[in-house]
């Protein structure tokens, strides 16, 4: 790729080495640990599903039974006892789920021959792997069939009614208006639930519960509208919060195409324990990698919390770290939707040039990554006319720097959840700008030593000195001291810490083993 910013290659390489050095001790920690949600994700891949009459999901029932029986039992992996129960009862997966939901305790069954468990588990791994591979193949087939029909960048729209059936109506309309990607926003409390609810849901606040049944309902609706529009419509949800890997597993089984997933977002912005988050993000990314699902990282949050001009380097540093953690989970660059945002104060002189510089810098440093670009939110107001103008500049920067995934800004961002016409105006604006500038990216170069070029060099330099400080401090300590996003998170504080599990010498997780083999992560 030709460069417009002339960033020194040795500086970029140095930043990547720093990211590796920063991540390395964290990855060592991750590999020695599991968590309650990692175990539940493995159970879900094995087929554990359903809920008891109180709504407690079967994967939670199993994990809670093991913890209650003996706090060390989970060190062997929850799949061991689940499969043991299958062998013992001779049940199908569905029958065992019903039995567990009715009160059957898998922790109280003596273990059969390990060989029998290993053999049965291998069958379950094959079943899950075949289903996920089938989903991947179907996606690739449809994307081939409708090749060239999607917008570039992909236009990404959000629905958030709280009711999955109402979401379906809005999503259909959005897709027929031109959206390539539909994200179903989650209800505001879900990231802090240590379980994933079961079944279709019609009640949510500011969004809709992520459940496997809701995934299935929306997937079917988007496939239908996709056939009509002759475009593959990508479906997005949130593998974030306390159930990152479980959501990733459900998404893999139901052919979701993108997952919001950040290596540190939960720690900094949701006060989830740091050890827990690092462990959870890895297994979720391994599943995403196998399912061919694109992750969207959350760097935009650094800019809504802090000043986008002054703290631009924190975005780039986070992109390097997200990339490193993604690679260590087997996720290739083409599935890394690294995030950033158009959030500078609109009254800054030359703000547009700085935004252009930041977006082009991300493009050049991460050339194969489908960058996820977020619209203005912080400075949006009730002045919807100004809001539309700001979104136009945002659309311009996105096309001018060849971004991958473009979350459409809403002119009513600061007023209400979008009306149908707000979404239409957003798509219409983006298509107007992008059609008018189709050849701009290939045609334009930047002045050497101009404002745009100098700004990118300056941000890269600041990023490196920040990463050097983090490397010297250590990532866990750096988070504890508030080096990221100006928030301090104690190592043993935050939500979900009690759900961390030390892997025992006989830890059994055939799904993790399979993913490691398939993704080339075997050491």
């Amino acid at each position: 790729m030709s460069t417009k910013l002339h960033l020194p290659k040795e500086s970029i390489d140095h930043a990547r080495q720093l990211a590796r050095a920063i991540a390395s001790p964290v990855v060592d920690f991750i590999d020695k640990h599991s968590s309650v949600t990692v175990e539940r994700a493995a159970l879900r891949l094995a087929g554990a599903d359903g809920a008891n009459p109180d709504g407690v999901p079967v994967p939670n029932l199993v994990v809670d039974q093991l913890r209650a029986a003996d706090p060390t039992m989970l060190e062997d992996g929850a799949v061991l006892r689940y499969v043991n129960a299958l062998v013992r009862t001779g049940d199908s997966v569905g029958a065992l789920n019903a039995r567990v939901a009715a009160g059957y305790n898998v922790a109280q069954q003596p273990l059969v021959d390990r060989e029998k468990i290993v053999k049965k588990a291998a069958e379950l791994v094959t079943t899950a792997a075949d289903r996920i591979k089938g989903n991947r193949a179907h996606r690739e087939l449809k994307q081939e069939e409708f090749h060239g029909r999607n917008n570039s960048p992909l236009l990404y729209l959000i629905v958030a009614t709280g009711n999955i059936y109402e979401d379906v109506k809005q999503a259909r309309a959005a897709a027929s208006q031109g959206a390539d990607v539909i994200a179903v926003i989650r209800t505001t409390a879900q990231s802090l639930l240590d379980y994933v609810p079961f079944g279709p849901t019609t009640e949510g606040f500011g969004g809709t519960y992520a459940t496997q049944e809701n995934f299935r309902i929306m997937r079917a609706a988007l496939d239908e509208v996709g056939e009509k529009e002759k475009r593959y419509i990508l479906l997005t949800n949130y593998a974030s919060g306390l159930c990152m890997p479980e959501i990733a597993a459900m998404g893999a089984l139901e052919r979701l195409d993108m997952m919001l997933n950040d290596s540190m977002y939960g720690i900094l912005f949701r006060d989830i324990n740091m050890y827990r988050t690092f462990v959870d993000q890895k297994f979720s990314r391994m599943i995403d990698a196998y399912a061919g699902s694109i992750i969207n990282t959350g760097e935009d949050n650094y800019l809504t919390t802090s000043d986008a001009f002054e703290k631009a380097y924190t975005v780039l540093a986070s992109q390097f770290l997200n990339e490193r953690f993604a690679y260590s989970a087997g996720l290739p660059a083409r599935l890394q939707g690294l995030g950033h945002a158009f959030e500078m104060d609109p009254s800054i002189k030359n703000g547009f040039l700085y935004e252009l510089s930041q977006a082009q810098m991300a493009r050049e440093i991460f050339p194969e990554h489908p960058l996820k670009y977020m619209p203005p939110t912080k400075f949006m107001s009730g002045d919807v006319f100004k809001g539309l103008a700001m979104n136009t500049l945002f659309n311009f920067v996105s096309k001018a720097t060849n971004q991958g995934i473009h979350l459409l800004g809403m002119l009513t961002e600061a007023v209400h959840t979008p009306f149908m016409m707000d979404r239409f105006l957003a798509v219409d604006n983006a298509r107007y700008v992008m059609n008018n500038m189709e050849g701009f990216y290939d045609d334009i170069e930047f002045k050497k030593d101009g404002i745009i070029v100098n700004r990118a060099h300056d941000v890269l330099t600041k990023t490196i000195s920040f990463m050097e400080e983090v490397e010297k401090t250590g990532l866990f300590d750096a988070i504890e001291q508030g080096l990221f996003a100006e928030v301090k998170r104690p190592k043993d504080g935050g939500k979900g810490f009690e759900g961390l599990i030390k892997k025992g010498p006989a830890y059994f997780n055939p799904f993790e083993d399979h993913l490691k083999r398939e993704l080339g992560l075997e050491r």
């Binding site: 208006q177 505001t188 606040f205 104060d345």
Partner: protein, 245 residues
């Protein structure tokens, strides 16, 4: 009496612009339906200048209309706590030094399940918003921003621990009146503990009015367009008022 009407380009022309969606196909019939609908709202003239298809059986309209309705501007009373005469940061700090003589303590959070910190951050974070510094920057204020999804109970415990003068509650999500339930619960909790008079209680959010907040038992409510200056001014004046009482 000071009678006013909407102004287009001539005094008293009564011109307004409207845009809306109808669940019907786009076309001549849809445009006529839109025009008649606007007239049924009491407008005297209506021109539908644009219509477009949004989806199957949905279409959008842009219309200009004329109203003969007017209002006596002198009869209007505004429901806004953000006084036009709020002090800026330096003035608030000077006021604290002169009239209170100690640092004041402010605790704030997005309570309940609300995860949107943009409002509380704009008021409290060092940086502030739109060139108005946040409360953390004030030399006379110890400010603690507890962030999002803080249970009411925890917020009150924290306020007691740091001996807060004022508690700020930010509520952004208002779907299904969740903010009203949450704000009510907060005040009831304080009252149950006999602590309501111990703190100055401030509510804020894009859809929080002063009237609503006061009805729910808060001292004040701040809506759209509020800065840290407005909140700080209210708190310091209220502290002095309580000292005198």
């Amino acid at each position: 009496m000071h009678v006013v009407r909407p102004y287009g380009d001539t005094m008293d022309d009564g011109k307004v612009q409207l845009s809306f969606t109808l669940p019907v196909p786009n076309g001549a019939k849809g445009r006529e339906a839109a025009r008649k609908l606007v007239l049924s709202w009491g407008f005297k003239e209506c021109e539908v200048v644009h219509s477009t298809v949004l989806a199957d059986d949905f279409s959008m309209y842009v219309a200009y209309a004329k109203t003969e309705q007017s209002i006596d501007y002198d009869s209007v009373v505004a429901d806004e706590a953000s006084a036009d005469a709020s002090m800026d940061m330096e003035a608030v700090d000077a006021f604290i030094k002169e009239h209170i003589g100690r640092k004041i303590v402010v605790v704030g959070a997005c309570t309940g399940f609300d995860a949107h910190t943009v409002g509380i951050d704009a008021i409290m974070n060092m940086k502030g918003f739109n060139h108005h510094y946040g409360l953390e920057r004030y030399t006379g204020i110890d400010a603690y921003n507890l962030g999002a999804q803080v249970p009411n109970e925890k917020l009150i415990d924290y306020a007691l621990k740091v001996k807060a003068d004022a508690i700020l509650i930010s509520q952004v999500v208002t779907q299904k009146d969740t903010h009203i339930h949450n704000m009510t619960e907060f005040v009831e909790l304080l009252e149950a503990k006999g602590l309501r008079e111990r703190f100055i209680c401030v509510a804020g959010g894009p859809r929080i009015g002063n009237k609503l907040a006061v009805e729910l038992g808060f001292d004040v409510g701040f809506g759209r367009g509020t800065y840290a200056d407005d909140v700080a001014t209210f708190i310091v004046k209220k502290i002095v008022e309580k000292q005198k009482a």
